[in-house]
């Protein structure tokens, strides 16, 4: 094998310019794929992280039918306290669940005593909420880093529009499930940075205050946000929780709860899916580049060396070794192209990080993109390139090994 490698490498060096051009083409392809995969993947992970860790959680449980009407925040589709207890026990016993936070969501009128606007509010237990969405405290731009009784966290856009700041008194007026209206005065505890996505412009009050505004003796729960220990096991966790809650049915035999991952609830998932599709097609392009360039070179190599093939076949070289000789040439080109591409790609990504790419995403301004390269990505791209290089060499190599020595020796 060592000798086959030696001959393959020397044959590649023999046609320096052609080898260099082909290897460069593969290298450029690999660099483009790696940079694209890195930047788009990092963007996807970053935004996904922002969405799940600062407002949505990894998945949510609602009462059946709630999500279909979620824009209206229907109070009549909340979970009753005993129903929530069932969920709470299931989640507390689930080893995959790191934290969960019950929320009482409702729409209200927000008044600064001179102006009024509408607001979506979440009644929360701050401790549970901050464990479930750990980036939420980092969105608090001004004021206290938590919310106490009689206090409210409001989104920045609302604060700016209504000209309120931490410490200011405001009034929240809400219609409860019976249709009656109730109002309550709050103090602005802090201003939240607005975020793009569902819940990104919501305000927060304590659960007890929300229940008081809505005149509930015991708080009902609109949704339970859940944080998993391993985000990579999201699909399995959703299925597991679906199975765990499937037994809970109403008197009509219909399921009481519905489980949704963030992917079902956030429109950003469609963008993430588009990124995945684009990544897939970029990889297909890389495969095409490698396939065509290596095949072209190997077809030329076989054609130019027909007499040599005749000679080595005549002196008794087994067809398998002739085949291996050409396959190894393709393999070596693939390895060089992939190796150089990975090296240059990694350097380019390091340079991009050094320069620092900042971008805006919806209301979030100046987000710093930290492009990263996962070792599995490097491995996948390298394996694809080398495998395709070998496959591209296969047809010319088989042709060479099947050549009749007598015909090959006659070739001019």
């Amino acid at each position: 094998m060592r000798n086959l490698f030696k001959i393959a490498i020397r044959n590649l060096i023999r046609y320096k310019r052609r080898t260099l051009l082909t290897a460069s083409l593969i290298t450029i392809g690999v660099v483009f794929v790696l940079v694209f995969v890195s930047v788009s993947g990092s963007f996807k992970s970053m935004i996904t992280g922002q969405i799940t860790d600062s407002m949505m959680g990894h998945l949510q449980i609602h009462r059946k039918g709630y999500v279909a009407s979620i824009d209206n925040l229907p109070l009549n589709l909340n979970m009753k306290p005993n129903a929530y207890q069932t969920i709470r026990q299931a989640l507390a016993a689930d080893e995959q669940v790191e934290a969960f936070s019950p929320r009482l969501k409702f729409g209200a009128m927000f008044s600064n005593f001179t102006e009024t606007t509408n607001i979506r509010l979440n009644g929360i237990d701050p401790e549970a909420e901050f464990r479930t969405v750990p980036l939420l405290p980092s969105r608090i731009l001004e004021g206290k880093s938590t919310v106490g009784r009689g206090e409210i966290l409001i989104p920045a856009l609302l604060a700016k529009g209504m000209k309120v700041k931490p410490g200011d008194p405001v009034v929240i007026v809400a219609t409860n499930a019976d249709g009656s209206v109730n109002g309550m005065q709050f103090t602005v505890a802090g201003i939240l940075e607005s975020a793009t996505g569902p819940g990104g412009r919501d305000g927060y009050v304590r659960m007890e205050d929300a229940a008081q505004v809505l005149r509930m003796t015991e708080p009902e729960i609109s949704e339970v946000a859940i944080r998993l220990k391993d985000f990579g096991r999201l699909a399995a966790a959703v299925q597991h929780l679906k199975n765990a809650t499937a037994g809970e049915v109403n008197p009509q035999g219909q399921p009481l709860f519905e489980v949704h991952s963030w992917e079902d609830l956030s429109p950003f998932f469609n963008i993430a899916r588009m990124i995945d599709i684009m990544t897939f097609f970029i990889r297909i392009m890389l495969i095409a580049i490698v396939l065509i360039s290596i095949m072209n070179v190997m077809v030329m190599a076989v054609y130019e060396r027909i007499r040599e093939i005749g000679t080595i076949a005549a002196i008794g070289t087994p067809p398998g070794k002739i085949r291996s000789m050409f396959i190894l040439e393709g393999f070596c080109m693939g390895v060089v192209g992939a190796g150089a591409g990975v090296g240059i790609g990694a350097a380019l990504i390091a340079l991009l990080n050094l320069i620092g790419i900042r971008f805006d995403f919806g209301q979030q301004k100046g987000l710093l993109l930290k492009a990263t390269l996962d070792p599995p990505d490097l491995l996948v791209v390298s394996v694809i390139v080398i495998t395709v290089a070998v496959l591209a060499s296969l047809q010319p190599a088989v042709k060479a090994s099947r050549m009749e020595p007598i015909d090959a020796l006659r070739h001019v």
């Binding site: 023999r14 040599e308 070289t317």
Partner: protein
């Protein structure tokens, strides 16, 4: 026992419309350690006959036995193995592998065909390089040596596997007359030293005289067999 036995060998080249006879009913025997030449004008069938003996082609009819094997019955892989183990080839255009040095060219069949261990390879190659007078040229590439030297390397490559038979198709066609004589002289010396049978084709009348057994081919037929005075292998 004869090294090569041809019994009624016929070779036709067929196209869709016509059949061109290249060899017609050849019968001959070649003894081991002989120095044989096939001569004749272009198109007489010399190269075709060498190709058949060299297992590079198959006869249309007849039986051709080389080193005790009916080569007409061998499959593709068996033919390659037979060539690698029993035959050596010297080509008109030297046919060196350009990316390998002189040493590596001679080493090639030992590695790729016979899988000879390193120590034995080294010993055999050194002996061959010395025998063909190229012991100080082993590190050079084919493009760095002359035509005559290339043919010496080709002789060394053909002999290094200890074949029973070396086939040389017009081995001196691309050499000047002085070098041609030197190459034929070297082939004969190697025959004497190693006992290897050499069969070469030529239309060079000066070189023809060096053969000890001469088969003259005309239009694919064996017209004449000549034995040189005092030839032991007839």
């Amino acid at each position: 026992m004869a090294l090569v036995t041809a019994a009624g060998i016929t070779k036709d080249y067929r196209t869709e419309e016509l059949t061109v006879p290249a060899l017609r009913n050849l019968n001959f025997e070649i003894e081991p350690a002989s120095f044989v030449s096939f001569v004749g004008p272009s198109g007489s069938g010399k190269t075709t006959l060498l190709n058949l003996i060299g297992c590079l082609d198959k006869p249309t009819a007849g039986r051709l036995t080389v080193a005790g094997t009916d080569v007409g019955t061998l499959g593709r892989k068996e033919s390659a193995a037979f060539r690698g183990n029993h035959l050596g080839f010297i080509f008109q255009d030297f046919n060196m592998i350009p990316v390998l040095t002189v040493y590596e060219n001679i080493e090639y069949p030992l590695i790729m065909v016979q899988n000879i261990p390193f120590r034995e390879r080294k010993e055999r190659i050194s002996r061959m390089l010395a025998a063909v007078g190229m012991d100080d040229q082993g590190g050079k590439y084919p493009h760095q040596i002359s035509g005559g030297q290339k043919q010496r390397v080709a002789i060394a490559r053909a002999l290094v596997t200890n074949p029973a038979l070396v086939l040389a198709d017009e081995p001196t066609a691309n050499l000047d007359s002085q070098t041609s004589y030197a190459v034929i002289g070297l082939m004969k010396k190697m025959r004497d030293d190693l006992g290897t049978t050499f069969i070469f084709s030529t239309h060079d009348t000066k070189i023809v005289g060096e053969a000890e057994v001469l088969f003259r081919l005309v239009d694919g037929r064996l017209a004449e067999k000549e034995l040189k005075e005092g030839t032991a292998h007839a």
